[in-house]
Symmetry: C2
Subunit: 116 residues, 2 copies
DNA sequence: GACCATATGTCAGCATGTTGTCATTGTCCT
DNA sequence: AGGACAATGACAACATGCTGACATATGGTC
């Protein structure tokens, strides 16, 4: 699904995390949202910035830690992929009772919480 | 959990797949069980063989494709890790109704099947 | 204001996984 | 038997992820 847009799943995760934030996120902030190491995120955001998907903005709160935001093209990619993903997700689950899906989600969250 | 035995999660997956087979598996066979590429499995089994966890046995059905089996030490590691993992799994789920766990498992399998 | 613990940027080494390619081996159909 | 197609081994390029280490920045405490 990401391939048709020249993305990979890792880059899609990053775009998604930033899109859900309002004023941009720092690299370690993205890492915390995604639950992975800041180093892994840093490497990906650097490449995505060069590719024109992200923009680094001055962070008033920190001298070196920039705020990562979606560029115009990043926003377009986000919207385009959402238009592919949403129908896919609906198609995948429309014949499953909502209560079943929610119960499974509650269970997964419960286990995640237990392991934190 | 795997670290205390000098393993990694990837090697543990391979050991588990072989342990559940009766007469050994070929490398592509392990890959099919795990649902991943044979190349990735090949690389790992080669190292595990050098480390003495696995043994390659002549395969009567194929001139070059060997049968991978657990060495004595591989079996010991398997049993030791099971003794760590089983109590962990029980502890993680003992306060959750069995029906909830089974329902979530059915849902996951249903989705996997849908995407095949 | 000095000091210490924490957060961040950066670089490196390693473990896994994927895909692609090519030669060799197996299978099956005619 | 012969030939086409699939399976396997081997090698390579690439994308991710983790941890460790070291220098710099922040923030809270005395």
């Amino acid at each position: 699904m990401t391939e048709s847009l020249g993305l990979t799943h890792a880059r899609w995760k990053v775009i998604g995390a930033i899109a859900l934030s309002n004023n941009g996120l720092t690299v370690p902030g993205i890492a915390r949202v995604l639950g992975q190491s800041r180093q892994a995120v840093q490497r990906i955001t650097d490449v995505m910035m060069e590719d024109g998907l992200l923009e680094y903005h001055k962070n008033l709160k920190h001298k070196r830690s920039v705020l990562v935001m979606l560029s115009q093209r990043g926003k377009e990619v986000y919207n385009t992929l959402r238009e592919l993903q949403d129908p896919w997700a609906i198609d995948a689950t429309e014949d499953i009772p909502v209560e079943e899906l929610e119960a499974a989600l509650r269970l997964v969250r419960r286990l995640i919480k237990k392991f934190n």
